[in-house]
Subunit: 183 residues, 2 copies
């Protein structure tokens, strides 16, 4: 399906900065279709992230609220995190979901994988939908942030979206895709 | 509304890499609520981006298709780009929309601003909805990529989403928010 005649050819690639496991920054020299050379094209490698729109047995949606440093305020977020070495995206999200919420869920479905930024990279986001969620233990995320667990109706999620309470691309994507599947 | 007791305090900030206008990478030392010190927290400053879900006078949605290097294939994208120095987000998107599509639109509405990544930053995305779009000239984006303009029905947009043809957080957010407003 993809038209490879439009692909850019990597002539050279150099790592500029490495901060594992958080990110790498690299520079590429590229040859474009038609022969044009671009000497300094920058990419940022970031982790594979996961998130889930999980619905409890009584039809509530599991949302988290915590401080997010790049936003500078306490805001809405979704259960999820970085995939660890050797994990599949599904294993990663099920581990993070249990750690952050203390819940498990009966039915899981992948809603796809999305690049953080289509020109620089900035990681991939593996988004999931889960139903039949119920609590099995106390949450213990190990994260730097203190997480507050919210159980919202679809109407409350729609209200938060309409009122501009959603502050990041990852969360708005997850909520809108989740609502689409809930219907 | 925001609970400032959970905010992290920046003790020190150092720039590690600067590649204007594309991005900066910086390291912060932080004091967390309760007194914990985190010495190496990394952030990535990226541009303010814009995108628009624009609907033509005959109810078609304007989509672009082009090669995206971080995805490595020809894929769907939305009109938009980086806001230039001195521009408001609305001025930026109207300029990019005209450059990339050759269209103008009668009615414009902001659908909000979203961080690329809520822990590292990675830019902000100012998303817009526009209606009454009509062509006034040939497109001339000045971009490295060759842009193909598509005029799709809402059904075609829904099909692309369901078939996994959308490959980035920015595009899936823009399409789902746009479809929400179209109703």
């Amino acid at each position: 399906m993809s038209d490879t005649s439009q692909h850019w050819k990597v002539m050279d690639k150099e790592k500029l900065l490495e901060r594992k496991p958080w990110f790498d920054v690299y520079r590429e020299s590229l040859e474009l279709p038609g022969g044009k050379i671009v000497k300094d094209y920058y990419g940022i490698t970031m982790p594979n992230y996961t998130a889930v729109f999980a619905v409890t047995q009584d039809q509530k949606i599991i949302i988290l609220r915590c401080y997010r440093h790049a936003i500078g305020e306490v805001t809405l977020t979704m259960p999820g995190g970085m995939i660890e070495e050797g994990e599949s995206p599904m294993e990663g999200i099920q581990r993070e979901f249990l750690e952050e919420t203390g819940y498990v869920a009966k039915y899981w479905k992948s809603l796809g994988m999305f690049a953080g930024n289509s020109t620089r990279g900035c990681g991939t986001y593996n988004l999931f939908f889960a139903t039949g969620a119920y609590p099995v233990k106390e949450p213990d995320s190990g994260d730097l942030e203190e997480l507050e667990l919210l159980l919202w109706t679809p109407e409350e999620v729609n209200y938060a979206i309409d009122e501009g309470l959603v502050k990041s691309l990852g969360v708005i994507s997850m909520l809108l895709l989740g609502l689409r599947w809930l219907k």
